[in-house]
Symmetry: C2
Subunit: 408 residues, 2 copies
Amino acid sequence: MTITYEALQALGLSIDMTRGKPATEQLDLSRALIDDVAQVGYLSRDGIDCRNYGHVLGLPEARELGAQLLGVAADQVVAAGNSSLELMHDVLAFAMLHGLPEGEPWRRADEVALLCPAPGYDRHFAICEALGIRMIAVPMLDDGPDMARVEALVASDSSIKGMWCMPLYSNPTGTIYSRETVGRLARMPAAAPDFRLLWDDAYRFHHLTEERYASPDIVDACRQAGHPDRPLVFASTSKVTVAGGGVAFLASSRRNIDWWQRHVSVRTIGPDKLNQLRHVRYLRDRSTLERLMDRHRAILQPKFEALDATLSKLLGDLPDVSWTRPFGGYFVSLFTPDGYAKRTVEFAAQAGVVLTPAGAAFPYRVDPRDRHLRIAPSCPALADIERAAQVIALSLREALAEGGARAA
Amino acid sequence: MTITYEALQALGLSIDMTRGKPATEQLDLSRALIDDVAQVGYLSRDGIDCRNYGHVLGLPEARELGAQLLGVAADQVVAAGNSSLELMHDVLAFAMLHGLPEGEPWRRADEVALLCPAPGYDRHFAICEALGIRMIAVPMLDDGPDMARVEALVASDSSIKGMWCMPLYSNPTGTIYSRETVGRLARMPAAAPDFRLLWDDAYRFHHLTEERYASPDIVDACRQAGHPDRPLVFASTSKVTVAGGGVAFLASSRRNIDWWQRHVSVRTIGPDKLNQLRHVRYLRDRSTLERLMDRHRAILQPKFEALDATLSKLLGDLPDVSWTRPFGGYFVSLFTPDGYAKRTVEFAAQAGVVLTPAGAAFPYRVDPRDRHLRIAPSCPALADIERAAQVIALSLREALAEGGARAA
């Protein structure tokens, strides 16, 4: 028997698929981070009393852990507070207020722009909008952003100061930047001397299959290409340990790290080193972290599979509808025929499934073709995912039927 | 027998009195904050899973604790990360980038200035300098800043956007703003419509005697005076629990809190609620916190007394030399005859006692009379304080003798 949209509506569902939040079961994986605090205490390996002030770039052993995770030297890593979003915001705020090492404060420029592969991460775009940074959308292709377009823009327009990149399992398309794409990003000439790659490596360890994809080392690639200060790499343990109380990392050239230190020292005497110490003792090293991520995958993979199975069953016959089957990360992108994304979100909401607003994954929240939906299957229980996927699929069918009726 | 400067030098001392750091014994007072984490767990009173994302203004019960401590309503309080310095920096950075609710972004103004009672807190001044905010020094008198001067400047100059205030046990003079001063600050007309009092209540609970001084409620005073948005109150538990991992608070009008929320939401999904939960369970309420502060006082008071006793013994005969005997806070100010502060710091350093650089307590690090020294007696062991005070006193005498010889 086929389920109908009306029947789903009658169930009175309430499922939130708006954000990439970890599920409670995932948070429970790191119970030891809370339960073992008393054993961890407050003294670092080097005898630093983590309770007191100081160490503005982070506890040395937390920086070392970050270095191991990100594949750079420890003096090229900052270990900071509880989210990489803060680091991204502050890098751009500092660039705006103070300028990067080789340039004027951006606030003095007539115009400052960043390239934004789209669909992309809405919080990146919100920072740009708040700071008055113009966003130039570039299409996201299967192997990363449209590099011909990127190269042409970056070479010719000195107001383009940088580019958002999520190289692995990109939010929300799951895109894996190819080796060639990464190489071209490292090598391409830039008209702006202070051009930066804002390299958000949020899903570096967040695989959804047995295959552990890895993005090429952008710090090394840029250094070899003669652009050592180009990459600013961001990562955090928010989706590794606890989402609200993780440790965030910034990795870059020594020159950029010195620049960061100069400006962040005005803002803080240091991060919460106690939390950093707990993380170092709990996560230990890269292989321990990877074993933890396998347990995350065991929770997440069935949710993504259930979503895909239901979408296949209910939408598989529609040639103009497609969706991603990501190898990692936290999101599925669903592409409707042009002009149906907003209406689908509305129908889904009326049946109790809240999706990220249509358009959210585009600069200025405008999807020019109104066809992209971002689905976040991590937080709802597995049992709810099939229902939610039914609602999404049948909401799209309702929207299409309505559109067909209007056209007739 | 009288100790000499040379004899002290021969001791090979190494005592750091540069910063207001808590001593290890003080940090040990809050061992339960670390030892009892497993019992505290992660679920808030309201069932919020503190491990996950969200609550950008802080955990509700942390905001309630802040409200009780600061004497305002909970919806007028933000509970944030690990230092009030960050909040002060970000308030000014947001004002610069985005403007306050009633004004243009400060970056668009030809000039932006803040009044800086001096001597004052060097980190306040560093924020101004970094952001390109002009600092206008106003003299600090016995009952607070020179109000006649403040009122005249603020009423006539619309580029003056605000004023730094440490109302209780001011850093570094220990000044307690009088009731009249606070009333005048609340009432005074300001030429700038977005004029703000940056009210750093760092030492609200940090008494050094049995007398618990209290500053008048600035939020209420400004509201009654028809300037509800004028005060931005900052405080933290950094010198209550652990210096590197406390909870910071911002209190103000609802309008200012809404403004803060709008801009900080771009920067973060929320603070570390686990740390906030631990703090709420450990500190409980105002009277529990005050009992803890009594134990801090028991550690600090003898250090301040030993410093005072030694300075009295070795400098009491010099009519042009004076120092503060603060009723709270973390600092002693020593005033030398004009022109001797820098040289005294140099002599002290040569005898192994590091003081805050002379001039640090003034805008642009310039003490126009070169006569102020900031002494931070909290961190060294009590046994070292007498020695350090001897070094400081005899260093001043060395400087004076050198000056006398030069003059002769």
